[in-house]
């Protein structure tokens, strides 16, 4: 008679004992469990490290997106190079911006040699901006050349005063004026080759996690409304980037003298603003500190020396 009892990995048979004994089986299982737990712990550590590295990289990429956007704003915060190179020769003139009060409407009869620029504004002083509180914001007045970059919708159009000259006529001073237009097509009766573009005004501001609706600190954007009507008004703030924990701006063209008075640097230098932002971790579970990034935003380049 032959009978078999299977228990774990031990098999008894009437003829002979085959396979592993109970002790051997337990030892093998214990070893396997130890190895498995070591491997699981190691892989859990590695997964956590990978997650942290991924989050860090995401923070850096988010910071990059923010600063690339700021760079693109600053790059267009002046008359396009192709509009000015033939006419502006001195270094001082090239960096002389005419950044206007954000609350002051474009005057259709106002002509200026320069448009565009950027600077720091005290939000509490800007009553025309809806939904903003205290703190500082970055105000940018940008000029986008048409038809390449300006789009088609209604908005503020900038044209050269030379645009309306008759063929053969010239004026010595090159001036520009801004007016509201329903589209960005070439202005009527404007000479071939005359430049025109769109003027936009943007304010970037920061809102802390406590004050924001989203429950996280945000960077917000406001611009002059692009509606069909010509009323000069600012739009409600839109959330541009989530998770910007802190935002500091400092004007490098201003410094305090020995008496503590603020002095403005006006010596033909470019205009520069230092921006410091702290980008928070993408997930609150990952115990990562905020990534602090500081960048210098500089207006038009000056001729280099050395």
């Amino acid at each position: 008679m032959t009978f078999t009892i299977s228990h774990c990995c031990v098999r008894f048979s009437g003829k002979r004992l085959s396979g592993l004994s109970l002790i051997e089986c337990l030892v093998v299982n214990a070893l396997a469990l130890v190895l498995l737990s070591i491997l699981l712990a190691t892989s859990a550590d590695m997964i956590s490290a990978a997650q942290k590295a991924g989050d860090r990289s995401e923070q850096a990429i988010r910071a990059r997106q923010v600063f690339d956007f700021l760079d693109s704003l600053v790059r267009t915060a002046q008359l396009p190079d192709t509009w000015t190179t033939d006419d502006i020769t001195s270094e001082g003139e090239a960096v002389q911006y005419s950044l206007m009060d954000p609350c002051k409407e474009f005057g259709t009869v106002v002509t200026q040699p320069y448009w565009g620029g950027f600077g720091i504004v005290e939000l509490a002083n800007l009553s025309c901006l809806p939904g903003t509180e205290t703190g500082v914001g970055l105000y940018v007045e940008r000029v986008l050349p048409c038809p390449e970059e300006c789009g088609e919708g209604a908005g503020y159009q900038i044209v050269s005063t030379q645009c309306h000259l008759r063929r053969g006529q010239t004026i010595e001073e090159f001036q520009w004026q801004v007016s509201w237009e329903k589209n960005m097509e070439r202005p009527h009766r404007c000479l071939e080759g005359a430049a025109w573009g769109r003027v936009e005004r943007i304010v970037l501001s920061h809102r802390s996690a406590e004050d924001s609706l989203e429950g996280v600190a945000v960077l917000r954007l406001q611009q002059i409304a692009q509606g069909l009507e010509a009323t000069y008004r600012w739009s409600q703030p839109e959330t541009m980037v989530l998770g910007v924990d802190a935002w500091q701006l400092s004007d490098l063209n201003r410094f305090s003298d020995l008496t503590g008075e603020e002095v403005r640097l006006t010596s033909g230098r470019s205009h520069a603003v230092r921006v410091r932002a702290i980008i928070g971790p993408p997930r609150s579970e990952t115990a990562l500190p905020g990534l602090a990034i500081e960048r210098l935003l500089v207006s038009a380049r000056r001729p280099t020396r050395g």
Partner: protein, 120 residues
């Protein structure tokens, strides 16, 4: 029976090793993306500093790169910090106006990106 155990455990090991390798590669990829982004920031900042100070990119790199040159005159603080954050980070200026930033990646290989005044 031993063979069954050996096969099962080897399959488990191979699976876990594969998982570990995958996470390792993901970490390396994330680190590379992070370092590359930081390197981009560094060169952008260097370009901004050169523009602000009115010097060429190579002059700015020479002043902001090696610490023995002294960096009080320029706004090099952030550049120095990012350079220290990159393993074996080195900023060098070539005679042809190119600025080269090199650093060591996780796998030990060297990564280099270059920039010139013309690309600013």
């Amino acid at each position: 029976m031993w063979v069954d155990y050996a096969i099962a455990s080897s399959i488990g090991f191979v699976g876990l090793l594969g998982l570990m390798q995958l996470t390792g590669e993901l970490t390396a990829l994330s680190m590379s993306a992070y370092q590359l982004t930081m390197a981009g920031f560094l060169l952008d900042e260097l370009a901004a500093v050169s523009s602000w100070e009115g010097v060429s990119l190579t002059s700015a790199a020479q002043l902001c790169g090696p610490s023995e040159w002294g960096t009080q005159a320029l706004h090099c603080g952030m550049i120095e910090r990012w350079l220290r954050a990159l393993p074996q980070g080195d900023l060098s200026a070539a005679a042809d106006g190119l600025v080269s930033l090199t650093w060591q990646q996780m796998d030990g290989s060297l990564m280099a990106i270059t920039r010139s005044d013309a690309s600013n």
